[in-house]
Symmetry: C2
Subunit: 344 residues, 2 copies
């Protein structure tokens, strides 16, 4: 929490995106008995898998187990998650289907998530609990494509042919997402992360015209009710959008290995803390590579205003001992004392 | 050809990546009778589908119909191309499997492609005929992953665990690719394009350490035998690699919509011509959007040292009349006369 606010820290905190997931045998054991959505929608199960990486690997933050498509379901879309990935029946393709989406009450339609956050924040007092949601552009990609999204032809077709309809979709998503994140904070989330996984598909001009205003709307709306809660914005393959990402209003920018942390730090200074940016493939490799990647990341920020993380979700094939080595090494990294650095 | 060399042109030339492909009913008619690989390996069929977009849409360059995995097959790998995409049986995972790859003689093992180029260059005298190959890093991604490549875990695992083995694989690919492109030029290709589709997966440091030397090796080796033949380098989502792409030795850099052409022009000046960079999704949209995208692209380069193209392959759902509108509009765009511009 101090790193989010650029306050002095004794060491750089660390967690991993998708830290509750398929690489853990304990997670797979639960998934053998329960479907993905069942785990999401049963607070006790969601809490159990959220806590697994905390108990097993001692990560510094617990992110609630859920899926970015839950709000699409709460807005009225059918959702199936199978081996081939998520499938939203009846994708959004016109004004009528946008109009059919309804504004949901997070404490009603997604009470399971709020309940999970309430239990989690009591279970791990002192450890930050993170809530999350998809950013409007990324959620719109899923809602319009429905299933496959190679090249995002449907979402871009809607955007180019019916810009007003597309904007009304983003507005609706942004408003619901803001209320959904607000409810997560009220239920105990210490910070929230917005996932804009597909922002990098857009050119800078399109990002500014389409995705940025909707993300700003979410952040503004959440901040107006919860000004003290840090908001983290994740994106990948967005080195061409870096300046615009600085205008979102997020407190922390979560980057992938394609954007050097040093460059982001030079660009934003103390205006935004940074999260990331180790390539998850590094965790497949030998321990020495994991150590180098962590040292390089911390060297780029000098460890201040920095949350160590991966640049994308941990890969299912990652050996658990490599994930543990990532966390343990990160937690042992020594920082130069702030006073000594200031004295130079 | 003049645009590749930054010589004055009367108008900006235009073609489309994957211009011979599924969006054309004439192509689908041939594919109903012949498999993808059958078309590649039968010169008369490859010539026929290569010529379809020239006859139907009057594109300014004819690219030979083939696949970037053909050299992997010629080096001894099994290849099947089905509805789920390409599948290379027995992917490369260790030193022994690299050693088993053999150096092939393009005029023997891929004679069908050389024959197609010989026929094409006679059929369309005066129109540039393009050959192509995958860049070493991108071909290695396919050869190591075999099939699925989400996040490229296998290729990065080999790279991090066995860097020497991975380098020997890139060396072998680079040498074979250079001879393969040389044979295409000898058979009549006026220019050749290297596709480094997955370069953007790498960080700048990894690109410089791994992919760049292998691409430089290909270009150097081809140029030593064919110094006058322009070489085009395609990549996508590589705005973080832009400086390094300038060091490859390519004559033309083919970019996607994520890299503003104006920025690339400012960075490279007259050192590299540019190709691209219209989002293929724009061709799904209304004609006015196609016109705007083309005008913006040409405004960014003032039309000199510029080949208009898409930023990625044309999408299968593209209406043929939109593809035609893209080509026709591009060919009608007026350039400011060079003398007037120089006089300013």
């Amino acid at each position: 929490m101090r790193a989010c606010r650029f306050l002095p820290v004794e060491r750089v905190p660390v967690w991993m995106m998708r830290q509750a997931g398929r690489y853990l045998p304990e997670y797979r054991a639960i998934r053998e008995k329960h479907s993905f959505l069942e785990v999401c929608r049963t607070p006790e199960l969601a809490v159990e898998v959220s806590l697994q990486p905390y108990r097993l690997l001692h990560v510094d933050a617990v992110i609630v187990f859920s899926d970015i498509l839950i709000p699409a379901m709460a807005m009225g879309m059918g959702l199936q998650i199978g081996d081939g990935g998520p499938d939203l029946g009846n994708p959004i393709r016109d004004a009528a289907s946008v109009a059919r989406l309804h504004n949901f009450d997070p404490e009603q339609e997604t009470r399971f998530l709020c309940d999970a956050l309430r239990i989690l924040s009591r279970s791990v007092a002192g450890v930050p609990v993170l809530g999350f949601a998809g950013a409007p552009w990324t959620l719109a990609c899923y809602m319009v494509e429905g299933k496959s999204k190679d090249g995002f032809p449907a979402v871009k077709q809607l955007l180019y042919h019916e810009p007003a309809v597309f904007r009304s979709l983003l507005d609706k998503i942004a408003d619901n997402t803001a209320r959904y994140l607000g409810a997560q904070i009220a239920a105990g989330a210490s910070a929230v992360q917005l996932f804009d996984t597909w922002a990098g598909e857009l050119s800078l001009d399109d990002y500014r015209a389409i995705a940025l205003p909707a993300t700003q709307q979410v952040i503004r709306q959440v901040k107006s009710a919860h000004p003290e809660t840090p908001m983290i914005l994740y994106s990948k393959a967005t080195s061409h959008l870096l300046d615009a990402l600085g205008e979102t209003g997020a407190d922390v920018l979560s980057l992938d290995w394609r954007v050097p942390l040093g460059e982001a730090r030079r660009r934003f200074g103390h205006r935004m803390a940074l999260q990331g940016n180790v390539d998850p493939c590094v965790l497949l490799g030998p321990p020495a590579g994991i150590e180098t990647a962590l040292r390089d990341a911390v060297a780029a920020t000098e460890g201040h205003g920095h949350i160590l993380n991966l640049g994308h979700g941990i890969l299912p094939d990652t050996p658990v001992e490599h994930a543990r080595h990532f966390i343990e090494t990160a937690q042992k990294l020594q920082l130069a004392p702030v006073t000594a650095r200031t004295g130079r």
